[in-house]
């Protein structure tokens, strides 16, 4: 059981990395990866929300949608639930953990539009994970996202001092680096 979960989390964190091999959540991956510090903040917020969303969407899918035979409504229900959840988490943090709230700042509401969250919820359903497996999968995927965004942020910080050809400056070189990272992450494929 535990071995299964470890294999599952390694698989979703490194091998099927959410950004580098599934191409989900590219917007924050490119948008918030200018500095390692903000990348870490975004990563933290994503871990927090995806883990919670995996639990809640798992419960709603198994408890509500399957019971009423409405599984075809999963996309719209998940969107609704995730948006509400992010809102609630924001309110909760603002009231009880203001320091974390101000640390996560604008990234928290931004996650509503992060397709990785919805992607994980739907992957959990498609692969027929139990709620525990789904939660672990969500957490590990979010950790994979954090790893990818922090590495890219580190590369971008270093890249500022490089003499990049004019045509590649800005986003092009970032996309090229992200592509090279994706190729590098292919190396994990033989891990399991």
């Amino acid at each position: 059981m535990i071995k299964n979960l470890i294999v599952l989390s390694l698989g979703s964190a490194l091998i099927n990395n959410v950004v580098l091999s599934q191409f989900l959540g590219l917007c924050p991956f490119l948008g918030v990866s200018k500095k390692v510090k903000t990348a870490l903040g975004m990563g933290g917020a994503v871990i927090f929300v995806i883990t919670l969303a995996s639990i809640v969407t798992g419960l709603i899918y198994k408890g509500l949608l399957v019971t009423f035979d409405l599984t075809y409504l999963k996309t719209i229900v998940f969107i609704l639930v995730i948006a509400a959840l992010v809102q609630f988490v924001e309110m909760f943090l603002k009231r009880f953990v203001p320091s974390l709230y101000s640390a996560l700042g604008v990234y928290l509401p931004l996650i509503t539009t992060n397709c990785a969250v919805l992607g994980i919820a739907i992957t959990n359903v498609q692969k027929d994970y139990s709620i525990l497996e789904g939660t672990v999968n969500g957490f590990a995927t979010a950790v994979g996202f954090t790893i990818a965004i922090v590495i890219l942020a580190g590369i971008r910080e270093k890249m500022q001092y490089n003499d990049i050809p004019k045509a590649f400056r800005g986003m092009p070189i970032v996309l090229v680096s992200a592509g090279l990272m994706a190729i590098a992450f292919c190396g994990f494929a033989g891990l399991l």
């Binding site: 509500l64 009423f68 229900v77 639930v81 509400a84 309110m91 909760f92 603002k94 009231r95």
Partner: protein, 266 residues
């Protein structure tokens, strides 16, 4: 017709939506963060244009900073003294007197006053003209381009292009500084409202060059500086500047200026 196939999802979705709505509504009330009363009062006293002239993100940002004591009560350039006094009353302090400032365009060359190098037909935005030869069709490279980027930016309808040159409506201007940011020629600056005599030229060309290009440009002759009884006028880089802290608005400079570049405000 299988009605339950429509009704069940309808009810489930409605129920879910209702639950989420009510849940978030209750959570919103239960987790309401107490906003500082002073902050709310200060926000009400502010003009609410959200122009950003104070340097904070909108009026709410300034209200927060004032309530926290991080910004002076007279930070709002738009509200001026009345608002500063109102906020000072809320905060329990007295506002330092601030001098009312207005924007001023340092160019007075109307269409007939200057020579043109060529006709320009293109995008009507001053900032675009840095891409065209010679920085625009006008011979003078330092003067107002007259395409009204400042006019489009002004949130208070206080600056207008009249006969080829931007003119500030001194009573409408709130000194928010938006036009100063967008003017590609850096012609606009904030001057004290009380200053009556201002140099309406920014040309840094030598006298003969300006003489050819513009009928009203400053040629750096220095007559104003010589005649000023208080030595408030200085000529640097072939352009006169008035030190407002010294100037007593006597008007000698404007009288003596051979090009009528120094203008009286009213």
């Amino acid at each position: 017709m299988n009605f339950s196939a429509i009704l069940t999802p309808l009810i489930v979705m409605l129920g879910l939506g209702l639950f989420v709505g009510v849940f978030l509504g209750i959570a919103g009330i239960a987790f309401k963060v107490k906003v500082d009363e002073k902050e709310e009062a200060v926000l009400k006293a502010l003009p609410g244009n959200n122009c950003g002239g104070c340097g904070f993100p909108g009026c709410a940002g300034l209200a927060h900073a004032i309530a926290q004591g991080e910004a002076p009560v007279n930070q709002c350039p738009v509200g001026g003294e009345p608002v500063a006094d109102a906020i000072a009353a809320i905060m329990g302090t007295t506002a330092e007197k601030t001098e009312k400032m207005v924007a001023f365009v340092a160019c007075k060359a109307h269409c007939d006053d200057m020579t043109m190098d060529y006709d320009y037909y293109g995008v009507e935005d001053c900032r675009m003209l840095s891409f065209v030869p010679n920085g625009g069709p006008k011979s003078c490279n330092d003067g107002c381009l007259g395409f009204g980027t400042c006019m489009k930016t002004c949130p208070f309808d206080a600056i207008h292009v009249v006969d080829g040159v931007a003119v500030v409506d001194r009573d409408k201007c709130k000194a928010c500084g938006k036009c100063i940011e967008v003017c590609p020629k850096h012609l606009i600056s904030l001057v004290p409202y009380s200053a009556q005599y201002l140099v309406a030229c920014s040309s840094q060309q030598k006298g003969p060059v300006t003489m050819k290009q513009c009928k009203v440009g400053c040629i750096g002759c220095g007559i104003c500086a010589k005649n000023c009884p208080l030595e408030a006028v200085k000529v640097e880089n072939f352009n006169a500047t008035i030190d407002f802290s010294v100037c007593k608005n006597c008007g000698t400079c404007a009288e003596k200026c051979p090009r009528k570049t120094i203008v009286k405000q009213y």
